[in-house]
Symmetry: C2
Subunit: 389 residues, 2 copies
């Protein structure tokens, strides 16, 4: 085996050992980690190239300089990736990750969130994970709760109630660690003793937003914090948008709790819709700007109107068979209702009741019998009927 | 021509003349008016019987006592209707109607709201109308605004804004004259100089609810008040439910603005859905009991989430082609966005910008050119680039 990025086999083994203890094929793991910093998240050309050749071999081809086929998109890819080929950056990323206790997750790992594989060539090449791999495994039964940074008290109340109720029902809560809805959902999940996972847009060595450093630290201890980019990589707008695709793909369903008409959480919702994942939106006042995005999702994206944790659980796993959706028709038999309407607190004859109800006498007598059994009508001594008091 | 309900042809002509001045076939009009009190609203057996024989002939057969065919439902119908055959009740109903200035509308009249014909045999046999027939004609471009009697300030604000906005767009407002949402919608329509029509569950001689007598009087002067039942007939629960079918059928679309989980306005919504009429629901707080019914409609009845008059107009007549639904994706080209992200307030070389953006140099230069044209990037004297201030 030749060197990769100037590192020989032994050095690669050392660099990877802390991030994937005991795992096979450290070179491939190292190369995938490097690729996660060479290609921007969601780079489908990189995804296809790595899928074709393997990460290590693809990296070697990139280093050698000539694309293996004359496809123009690959040549453009080489132009994008080559300026980032930097052994120092890679070494530093791995060293910092090791120092922080980060694990490097690869497709096929037990903890790999298999939902992201639905992204195809746009799937992440690797995921950097700080925290409990067990929490990441629970993403197979997770719901993404996302929403406005500038949440209102209403949105935060809904987020807190929803996260707690979903944790009670055995769901993990996935979100983006942002201020507002995201943070409230994470906090409520932690407070409920549930599982919560945050996905960041930059590397794990710099928690963003900085005001949530302590919260993210807690999530990393009790749940997990994931990143697609290596340590040393800052979040950018592009990376936030691509991070959103991971939140949509890794969870079973995405719920937008509160969002302005152009909120970033609508981007997460768009990814969920594109992936065919269930998408829910919490309604709110039509006068609230922070519900405008939710209402757009209900109108334009066929999002399901979800009111509480029960609705969100149903969104993710289908209706609870114990729950019945009782009808819009007022309860009871229409004939009985008409006969009951025709009764008064004063006694009326059966003929009078029948006339008032617009029913035949025989029908009226039948309905009066049932109403009497229900305690809603009383037969009087003189043979008439009145409404039960 | 023999007598009907003891009235000879001349007396029938006199009884009907004030209600349908100059109209042909007063006997048929009289008989339809009588039938509207013999059969409870929505009685399909009566509808089919009158459709088969004409109202006058059907009335004569009923008087004579023997159903014309051995169908059991008709025999049961005869048992329902015969106890109500009362010349005094009919004469009084017509006399009171004449005294109040009521018109009797029949199917085929110019002012007949043709939407109700979609109810088939359950269509009303006649409609009693107090007010402007021109207002009734505008029901072909009306929207039903219905909702909770116990409306909140939020619901009333939405109702007032919606009714005013719809009147501005040339829609008439149809509702049930009840307290809460109904009354607010009517009032706002009147205040906007728009057209509004109320449908009552009982006869027009007794406005219900009595606290809305003055409002209904104003509606009768500036718009119209309709009833399926003749004067002298009280509203009953059954009649309220059947009144709701008329509101759904006579309008182009039904919108529920605020409703408890078991509100009567959900019954109107159910009729609209059954008729295939567009159905809208206004969202609200998930913690508000008076929005629970609206949220049920969104979840269980595929109601459209409507936020304002524009949405309701679109619900009724389709989208305004001038309106575009711009996307959930953030605006702008993704490459430009990535290049812009990679700029800083300090000068960077093109190569540096390309590396940060994860793009090829050629792509980066192209995007920088466009950003410069948009005034979002600035080429510096030393040949580098920085973000526009």
């Amino acid at each position: 085996m030749s060197t990769v990025l100037g590192l020989g086999p032994q050095e690669v083994g050392e660099v990877v050992s802390g991030l994937r203890p005991g795992a096979e094929d450290p070179l491939e793991a190292f190369a995938r980690g490097v690729w996660s910093g060479l290609a921007e998240p969601g780079d489908g050309v990189a995804g296809a190239f790595v899928a074709s050749f393997g990460a290590a071999e693809a990296l070697r081809i990139l280093q050698d300089g000539a694309p293996p086929s004359p496809r123009p998109e690959l040549a453009e890819g080489f132009e994008r990736w080559r300026p980032r080929l930097d052994a120092d950056v890679a070494r530093r990323a791995f060293r910092n990750a090791t120092r922080l206790g980060v694990r490097l997750l690869l497709p096929g790992d037990a903890a790999w969130p298999s939902g992201v594989d639905d992204l195809g060539v746009h799937a992440p090449l690797a995921l950097w994970c700080l925290g409990e791999e067990a929490a990441v495994m629970r993403l197979s039964r997770s719901i993404a709760l996302v929403g406005a940074r500038a949440a209102t008290g209403y949105g935060e109340q809904v987020a807190a109630d929803a996260a707690a109720g979903l944790c009670d029902r055995g769901f993990a809560i996935l979100s983006g660690g942002a201020y507002g809805i995201d943070g409230t959902a994470h906090r409520s999940a932690l407070a409920s003793g549930g599982t919560t996972v945050a996905v960041l847009a930059g590397g794990l060595d710099r928690f963003y937003p900085s005001g949530h450093a302590q919260l993210l630290q807690r999530i990393a201890v009790e749940g997990a914090v994931l990143a697609e980019l290596p340590c040393g990589f800052a979040p950018t707008r592009w990376r936030f948008l691509q991070r959103n695709r991971l939140i949509a793909a890794a969870s079973r369903a995405t719920v937008v709790l509160e969002a302005g008409a152009r909120s970033g959480s609508l981007n997460t919702a768009g990814h969920a819709a594109a992936l065919g994942r269930p998408l829910g939106a919490v309604p709110g006042s039509v006068y609230s700007g922070t519900s405008a995005g939710c209402h757009r999702l209900l109108r334009e994206y066929d999002a399901v109107c979800v009111r509480d944790a029960a609705d969100m659980a149903e969104l993710a796993v289908g209706p609870d068979p114990a729950m019945t959706l009782d009808g819009l028709e007022p309860p009871g038999d229409p004939t009985e209702r008409r006969v009951h309407d025709a009764l008064s607190s004063r006694t009326r004859t059966v003929a009078e009741v029948a006339r008032r109800a617009g029913l035949a006498v025989a029908e009226t007598i039948g309905a009066l019998g049932i109403l009497a059994l229900d305690g809603r009508a009383v037969e009087t001594a003189e043979g008439g009927w009145r409404r039960a008091p």
